[in-house]
């Protein structure tokens, strides 16, 4: 279980893991903002633009949950290489959710930055 695994981590690392977890939903919705993508493409995008991904496997159950919440839909498409890929795209509800979450994030991170500014100078 996760509790047991994270107990070995330093408190700072543990907090970072929680933080990443909390952001992953928004990150995935954002990665689908400009069109449909399949799992590996979403992963590559997240790896390129962020350091959110620790275990690649996590993204797939999360996509399946987003689908159950009707924030994304999925379809199987045959690739040129011959193997099928499962593409995800945002539903209308998913777009609303992404906008809403990103507004909250922007507000939150701006206020955190203001609050943390003295700490950066003090160093």
């Amino acid at each position: 279980m996760k509790e047991r695994e994270t107990r070995d981590l330093e408190p700072g690392e543990k907090w970072e893991v929680q933080l990443r977890k909390g952001c992953l939903e928004l990150a995935i919705l954002a990665a689908l903002w400009d069109g449909k993508r399949y799992g590996l493409e979403i992963l590559r995008r997240l790896e390129r633009d962020s350091d959110l991904i620790v275990s690649e496997g996590t993204v797939y159950p999360l996509l399946s949950r987003l689908k159950a919440m009707e924030l994304v839909r999925s379809e199987w498409v045959e690739s040129e290489g011959g193997h099928p890929r499962k593409y995800y795209s945002l539903t209308t509800a998913g777009k609303h959710r992404a906008i809403e979450m990103s507004a909250i994030w922007t507000r939150f991170s701006a206020s955190m930055s203001r609050l943390l500014a003295p700490l950066a100078k003090g160093k």
Binding site: G39, L40, V54, S55, Y60, P61, S64, H83, P84
Partner: protein, 211 residues
């Protein structure tokens, strides 16, 4: 064994372990999950081979390691599917069944299960008293029984007899009061259990597992 066979065998082995870690999911959903992961493994492996250097065995090992264990992956899918199904139901039996499985997956589930068993148990007891009252009017109900100079309040389902001098506190009111209390408690337990499941799902966008 050729290299290609060995690679294929590693992939098949991983996927059959994943499939085994998905009991209770509808067949088409489980197949969909396995095929999605197969697609991921195939493409990731072949792209890291063509990117250079690595042999196919090393490439497939790296791909599978990055995914995490199939059992852990299966557990993440299962918790989701389970809570989703339970959240959509209203029947105490289905909720309890879902909670039993959830209890096996996390501590939070265990405590919600305990509370729900408690709530449903007393809901059933109150309802039972109301139903037994017409059959055993002389013993079902809430009784005040003399004990020396003191009294004892006794809640009886209608089995056995009431000691002499016992006073039926509610009389025929036992029926409406029992039904109302039993029904309210059952509905309340259901509502609280479903609310807790919803909170848990919302709070943990990712359940235990990885980051």
């Amino acid at each position: 064994m050729t290299m290609a066979n060995e690679v294929q065998q590693k992939i098949d082995n991983y996927l059959s372990r994943l499939r085994a870690a998905l009991p209770g999911l509808p067949e088409d959903e489980a197949r969909d999950i396995v095929e999605e992961l197969r697609s991921h493994i195939t493409e990731k492996t072949s792209s890291s081979i063509s990117a250079g250097g690595t042999g196919s065995l090393a490439a497939v090992d790296a791909t599978l390691a990055a995914l995490g264990s199939p059992e852990e992956l299966g557990r993440q899918y299962r918790t989701d599917a389970l809570l989703g199904r339970t959240e959509g139901s209203r029947s105490p039996f289905r909720i309890l069944r879902g909670l039993f499985q959830w209890a096996g997956l996390s501590f939070a589930g265990f405590f919600v299960l305990l509370g729900s068993i408690f709530g449903y148990f007393f809901g059933a007891v109150f309802t039972l008293v109301a139903l037994m009252k017409p059959i055993h009017p002389q013993s079902a109900g809430l009784w005040m029984i003399p004990r020396g100079s003191d009294f004892e309040i006794s809640f009886r389902l209608g089995f056995g007899s009431v000691p002499p001098g016992g006073k039926d506190l509610l009389g025929w009111w036992t029926i409406p009061v029992g039904l109302l209390a039993g029904g309210t408690l059952t509905l309340l337990t259901t509502a609280v259990a479903l609310w807790l499941i919803r909170q848990y799902r919302k709070r943990l966008m990712l359940p235990k597992g990885a980051a």
